[in-house]
């Protein structure tokens, strides 16, 4: 009993000392509630709290203001250890939200408390996730993650000032991204992105690199959802090139979204890359693009339908069909060139129908003509189609323009969608 009291007293003292001497690195570990099972000092105090009975007395040792923070914090640690996550979340939020902390934080001029703040931001998200899990499993409405989001917006507000604390804003932003993506309320990212990118107090280059990578990863993903492939490419490439090479899991996450973007821009990844980072779901897609096999593409999409739908790249991959058709036409052209170079540029639609039938795709001649019209319009193929003679005549020079790292150019039906979506702020 005395031992338990001593341990709690130790914790309280360490907390107070850290705050008084403004040592962020000492304070942070004391706030990491969710890792209390792995962090020995926290573990010991968590167990001690179960044994100790009257914390209030012990808290009198601490500063009055800190007492408020500490009482909720200790409750959070205790509840978490006992597996009561909703309680843990509530207590932790109260602790962090208390005027003693947030208000004081605003008053502290220097950025000493930034590291503890990062810990708090991280913890509140983790605790909220666990709390929501607990609520769901009891048939109740999971609302804690949403509350954590609101809290973090407040924290963001505290960081959006002129002082040195502002470099912390990107970390908090990334935590918010994670919350919004998890909740599916991705549109809420818009306002915080706008703050980061347009507010004059923020200079993107000042932020820590780790945060910049995470930020670019999430905003890159948003660009993928909105099909702004050039912007997505730029952002995801930034994330990829600045990401620590040892963090293979992170690189895989970035590639998961970058590969469909590159494919849309006409750039195929090497098989080695896909194998190295275990992105096997894209293997058949890449093969279909190389072979000009629409059937293979469709099968590949079906095989991994779940995964692609879940990550939100399904529609992007579906649209690659046009490039697959282009590849098929190119192969037919090459074969014809080998047989009779002078006539190679004239492709009978009937030949295309046959080729497709061989690939187990049943398309009649009118449909084929339709596809030709589309390919020509979208500049994937240069030439014209002659309706009466049922022939497509390819340009003698460069009939299959490379995409050149740009998405299919030309005015197009879906181009309207792209233009429209580019107008979105996200």
């Amino acid at each position: 009993m005395g031992d338990a009291h001593r341990k709690v007293g130790d914790y309280v003292r360490r907390f107070s000392d850290a705050v008084l001497s403004q040592e962020g690195s000492s304070l942070s570990p004391l706030l990491a509630v969710s890792s209390s099972s792995s962090s020995p000092p926290l573990l010991s105090v968590a167990d001690a709290l179960a044994a100790a009975q009257d914390w209030g007395r012990l808290l009198k040792q601490a500063d009055a203001q800190l007492g408020e923070i500490l009482s909720h914090l200790l409750r959070a640690i205790h509840s978490f250890r006992s597996g009561r996550f909703v309680e843990a979340y509530n207590a932790f939020e109260r602790s962090a939200n208390s005027s003693a902390f947030l208000q004081e934080f605003r008053n502290w001029e220097s950025a000493w408390a930034l590291d503890p703040l990062y810990t708090i931001a991280y913890e509140i998200r983790i605790l909220a996730e666990k709390a929501d899990w607990e609520l769901s499993s009891h048939g109740k409405n999971p609302e804690k993650l949403k509350a954590a989001g609101s809290f973090l917006m407040k924290v963001f507000g505290a960081l959006a000032g002129k002082g040195p604390k502002r470099v912390g804003a990107l970390y908090v932003t990334c935590q918010l991204f994670k919350i919004y993506f998890k909740l599916g309320t991705v549109h809420l990212c818009r306002s915080v992105i706008r703050s980061i990118e347009t507010a004059r107090i923020f200079d993107f280059e000042e932020f820590p690199l780790r945060d910049k990578v995470t930020y670019m990863y999430y905003t890159g993903r948003l660009e993928v959802y909105n099909e702004n492939f050039l912007a997505a490419d730029q952002k995801l490439m930034y994330a990829l090139s600045h990401c620590d090479v040892r963090r293979e899991a992170n690189i895989r996450m970035i590639l998961k979204y970058l590969v469909p973007v590159k494919l849309s821009l006409g750039i195929l990844p090497k098989t080695r890359l896909l194998e190295k980072y275990n992105l096997v779901e894209y293997a058949s897609v890449v093969q279909a693009l190389k072979r000009g096999d629409v059937r293979l593409l469709r099968h590949a999409l079906l095989d991994h339908e779940d995964r692609f739908l879940r990550s939100g790249v399904y529609l992007v991959l579906e649209k690659l069909e046009l490039q697959v058709y282009q590849r098929l036409m190119k192969k037919i052209y090459i074969l014809q060139k080998q047989k009779d170079p002078s006539k190679a540029h004239q492709v009978k639609l009937e030949v295309v129908v046959k080729a497709l039938r061989w690939l187990e795709m049943d398309m009649d001649i009118d449909e084929v003509e339709c596809m030709m019209a589309i390919l020509i319009y979208k500049n994937l193929m240069k030439g014209y189609f002659a309706h009466k003679s049922k022939v497509v005549v390819l340009s003698k020079q460069d009939p299959f323009p490379k995409l050149n790292g740009r998405p299919e150019s030309g005015r197009m039906l879906s181009g309207m969608l792209e233009v429209r979506s580019k107008r979105q702020v996200v």
């Binding site: 339908e305 339709c370 020509i376 309706h387 005549v393």
Partner: protein, 517 residues
């Protein structure tokens, strides 16, 4: 006009005059009620003065305080026990009752219902049975009268009226009808619609109000299951027929007032309300905007808005419908979102509505539409959905259409729509269809061989429209057409004048059997 022998269980006993009826100045339907004499605030004092001080709620709190919402979210759900269609005890919103007999009053309440802050209904606790009171007031609908006597009703005929505000804290379980009774009530009302000789408006009013009361009972008991879904769908089904005819009147109304109808409505319009057409419109608008929050009524509301959208676009030339279109679209999207929330709730308890997939498909088709500036990402939306729904037949169809649209494959697009789309899906796709047709013209114009003008007969077959319509479309897109010696029409290619039309006149849609939709 007795119907349906063997109704409810409890024998009906007459009660004395409703002593607790609020006041002498209350308008039984004989009085001429003057809204201007009734000041909304401060409610407690003036109300008590005027109504004679008997206006206490059951728990003793003063009347005239802000009326409570229909459902108290925190209380446990009630299970009704009343075996009759019209329970013995009911809270009556007195003035609302009065309004059935006075359009101007209806108007005031209509207005105040929407802005809850202005709700100043006097909650009257009637101890007497609602039936008895209504008998006293001769407030019995035609259908509830025994042998046409406006002063007499019975358990088999009287149907519980809708009470505007009802707090669950004040409600007895004997006031609320359980699900089987509600089902019976609904069946009775539906029969009435089919077999009654009374004029449509009379039936409509009665049934509308009584079904509303049914919904309220369902809402209070918070029953959400398949049977309730069917009830809701049936309930509004009988409304749907009248909705189409109401649209013209609604257009009239919007032409008559600002779109912000609530503020536009003033007492000066009281005279005009004598106009039965406008009165009818007011009631229709009530249908439009006053759907109860709970229930799968939203299904039918969504359907209504989709059809409205189509009709409104058709009368584009005649009235200024742009604001109405916008409003309607807003309502449509709101209703859809509510419906999706309800589906999600329902799914948690394990049951699934068979119409779900179709309603999910509406969202996707809406995104394809031409009008709106801000389109949401469909990828994001798919991400949130259950894969089983995405793999349903209806959603597969939707995804197929989506794919054709995004790739620009007009042929597949039309084939898919012609074979598989439902009427409502088709309504939503109409603006998209014309856009795709225009793009098809653009492709053909761009890539077609100059010496081979494209025969319109063939193209019209592909684009599923009349040849004459196709010709009009060509011209609307700035493209000229040509004619050969045999009188056949063609589209010469490589023209430079193509432009996307800003608006499309509505063209026909011919499916492969050449049947017009």
């Amino acid at each position: 006009m007795e119907r349906r022998g063997g109704g409810g269980g409890r024998p009906w006993r007459p009660r004395g005059a409703a002593r607790d009826r609020a006041s002498s100045s209350s308008s039984s339907h004989g009085d001429r009620w003057r809204p201007s004499a009734w000041q909304p605030s401060p409610p407690s004092n003036s109300a008590e003065e005027r109504k004679g001080g008997r206006n206490l709620r059951r728990d003793g709190s003063a009347v005239g305080a802000r009326a409570e919402p229909v459902v108290d979210v925190d209380t446990a759900p009630l299970v009704g026990t009343c075996p009759d269609m019209c329970p013995e005890l009911a809270f009556v919103v007195y003035l609302f009752q009065a309004c059935f007999f006075n359009a101007a009053v209806f108007l005031t309440l209509f207005q105040s219902y929407y802005f809850e802050e202005n709700v100043t209904f006097v909650l009257v606790h009637v101890i007497a049975k609602e039936r008895a009171q209504r008998e006293q007031l001769r407030d019995l609908a035609v259908f509830e009268r025994v042998h046409g006597n406006p002063g007499r009703t019975s358990t088999t005929l009287s149907v519980k009226k809708f009470c505007r505000t009802m707090s669950t804290m004040h409600v007895e379980t004997s006031d609320i009808r359980p699900l089987p009774v509600l089902q019976r009530t609904l069946a009775y009302l539906l029969d009435l619609v089919d077999y009654s000789d009374n004029p449509f408006e009379v039936i409509h009013d009665f049934v509308f109000d009584r079904t509303r009361s049914i919904r309220q009972d369902l809402c209070i008991q918070n029953i959400v299951n398949i049977e309730v879904i069917h009830m809701y769908e049936e309930m509004v089904h009988l409304m749907s027929n009248s909705l189409e005819s109401m649209l013209i009147l609604i257009n009239l109304f919007y032409a008559f007032h600002d779109t912000n109808i609530w503020t536009a409505v003033t007492f000066d319009i009281r005279q005009k309300l004598c106009d039965p057409a406008l009165n009818f419109v007011m009631k229709s608008l009530q249908l439009l905007y006053y759907y109860d929050p709970v229930g799968f009524l939203w299904c039918k509301k969504v359907k209504f808005h989709i059809i409205s959208d189509q009709r409104l676009r058709k009368c584009c030339g005649k009235l200024d419908t742009s604001s109405l279109l916008h409003l309607n679209m807003e309502q449509l999207i709101k209703s859809l979102m509510t419906l999706y929330d309800l589906y999600a709730i329902n799914r948690k308890s394990g049951s699934r509505n068979c119409n779900e997939a179709e309603f999910y498909s509406f969202y996707v088709f809406l995104q394809l539409g031409y009008k709106s500036q801000e389109r949401d990402s469909i990828s994001l939306w798919f991400r949130k959905m259950e894969v089983s729904i995405l793999q349903s037949k209806e959603m597969k169809f939707v995804r197929n259409v989506l794919r054709c649209f995004r790739i620009g494959n007009y042929m597949c697009f039309f084939k898919a729509i012609a074979t598989e789309s439902s009427y409502l899906q088709f309504c939503l796709l109409e603006p998209v269809i014309d856009e795709v047709r225009a793009w098809a013209l653009s492709y053909i114009n761009y890539g077609g061989y100059k010496l081979h003008p494209y025969p319109l007969a063939e193209l019209s077959r592909v684009l599923m429209m009349e040849e004459s319509d196709l010709e009009s479309l060509c011209h609307a897109c700035g493209l000229e057409t040509s004619k050969d010696e045999a009188g056949r029409f063609f589209l010469p290619t490589k023209q430079l004048g193509f432009r996307m039309p800003k608006a499309f006149q509505s063209f026909s849609f011919l499916d492969s059997a050449s049947l017009k939709r």
